[in-house]
Symmetry: C2
Subunit: 325 residues, 2 copies
DNA sequence: GTGAAAGCGCTAACAA
DNA sequence: TTGTTAGCGCTTTCAC
């Protein structure tokens, strides 16, 4: 910038004002300076600017896993929204590992992000990590999750309700032998509650054995599916579209016809449910809306310090071909 | 840091040395300083450091699309590798849009990344954008692509060879009515060349009508598939696993049995080919290897200024259930 | 409307 | 081994 100022024969401060489009410079000198800057191929140094103004124009986003399409979509929407505000997105991918979550929290603080959108997988024991953001006065909010013990704004979709609706739909079709495949009974409690609530309304009360856990490894899903098949299920509900894919593949190996002999449902309504050879019935989370609201709310905290109310969005059934009509 | 130094009763520079683990400080004072820093919850300011040392410890990665699993996997491997060197990954997602590519090139320069890994989709007319990196002396290399007119190191997988092998495999099974679905005939020339080379070896020379273009929209793929079905194909080869999914879904709608009546092949060997109800035969790109080599090569340029030779890796056929044995 | 100068937090050369 | 100091590139207050 020094060079630009020198060549344009103005002072450093005038150059700065002009290049940042701030008032206090004649239209003519401004244009002159800008043209010189272009000529010299001037590129501002954002480290210097950040140091000076204590703002980096960066927003951090912490997600568990980028390979999963669900988070890929989130990244895309958050990025678009964040950039529309003139910010740049910094991505932290934790692999659902608490230590990594802490690592990225620190990384973001050190790099000086102006705000953070956080999809936590933090165990309750490690929850205090996030308070670092409070100490450093960095605005943040949770996306797709919340912790009752923490007074942090969040935006998420009502998982329990989605699972409740899907269960109800299956029950209404007269299906009773329903099994539920989850990742972790504790973590996935909302889905399980939704399931039991619907059952209760239909006057049935399946015991705990219908809830089965599986890791998210594709082979593991298939093995667990096999175990369920053994019990003669009429329907297998899962908590993610990719799980549903695993169940269906195994069903094919066993010659079980879908949906005639077995209904299978996913959750999230991401690409896996759409591209599968037999499109999968699932529960839609309004991902785009969640992301837009999250970014807008964060911006409000950043700009005006007002903390907007947390929001819980409605899920929606998407019935395709793995359930009967 | 000033506070840390004051509380520890040492000078700023001593604190700096200690906190950065540099020699020139007694073990004892060092530990003392570090403990004080922890107590005060000191977090270094990387803007200041970057400004001072003209290094940001950030690597930029430019990709076309994060929703696509192929790039998601790349991000994951590149991130892991980059972080093992103590760097932080900055992501630029262009949506295959030249203007966005330029935007991120500038963004990365302004933010001062120390190096860039670039998956370009740049039209040849816009190719000069990348020379900005040269002007700013920022090391960079291409991943999954190269431009003959540019003397920039690259690492990629031999697309032509992969398609050649798959075509040969199909031909060996006696299939002759083979159609090829590409995105853009120009861009996807390597695949097409591989196809024709294999055909030539088998003494056949299909005319140009067997090569059909489709956008990557899922509905578009299905429509194009329908058009091909009309011509009575024995096999449809595609250039991506997700395209193969689209073809297969449409085949199901038309009651065409796979692989008995129709062989379908994908490309890349990413998650879509694995989780599909009928697992898809495809061509594997050694993504992990590509990423590791790319990062290592970039580091070598950054550290020693030596430009390692570009590399072209071998693809591998992965035969699953959408082709006959 | 324009310029001079201070200082953001840190590192590194040099002095002690 | 430790301390003093200059300066990285930029913004912003204040004087002119």
């Amino acid at each position: 910038m020094k060079d630009v100022a020198r060549v344009a024969k103005v002072s450093l401060s005038t150059a700065s004002l002009a290049l940042n489009g701030k008032p206090g410079v004649t239209q003519k000198t401004k244009e002159h300076i800008i043209s010189i800057a272009k000529e010299l191929n001037y590129k501002p140094n954002s480290s210097a600017r950040s140091l000076r103004v204590s703002k980096t124009k960066m927003i951090g986003l912490i997600i568990p896993d980028i390979v999963n399409n669900f988070y890929g979509v989130i990244v895309e929407y958050v990025r678009k929204e964040v950039e529309s505000y003139g910010y740049f997105l910094l991505l932290g991918i934790t692999g659902s590992n608490s230590a990594n979550e802490e690592k990225y929290i620190n990384e973001f603080i050190t790099r000086g992000v102006d705000g953070v959108i956080y999809i936590p997988q933090l165990k309750h024991s490690d929850i205090r990590y996030v308070e670092q953001f409070d100490e450093c006065k960095i605005p943040y909010l949770f996306l797709t999750a919340r912790y009752e013990e923490l007074d942090v704004p969040y935006v998420l979709c009502d998982l329990k309700k989605g699972f409740y609706e899907m269960t109800k739909h299956l029950l209404e079709q007269g299906l009773t032998e329903i099994y539920v495949m989850v990742g972790d009974k504790k973590v996935d409690q909302p889905y399980i509650s939704g399931f039991y609530e619907a059952c209760r309304e239909f006057g049935i009360c399946p015991d705990e054995t219908v809830i089965v856990e599986s890791s998210f490894e594709f082979e593991a899903i298939q093995e667990v599916a096999d175990e369920i098949f053994f019990k003669g299920p009429q329907a297998i509900m899962t908590i993610s579209d990719i799980m549903a894919c695993g169940v269906m593949q195994q069903a094919r190996k066993r010659g079980i016809r879908i949906p005639e002999e077995l209904s299978v449902t996913g959750y999230d309504d991401v690409i896996y449910s759409i591209i599968n050879h037999i499109p999968i019935s699932t529960v839609m989370q309004p991902i785009k809306e969640m992301c837009v609201i999250a970014v807008n709310n964060l911006m409000n905290i950043m700009k005006y310090g007002i903390v907007p109310p947390s929001v819980i969005l409605e899920p929606k059934l998407v019935l395709r071909e793995t359930t009967r009509d």
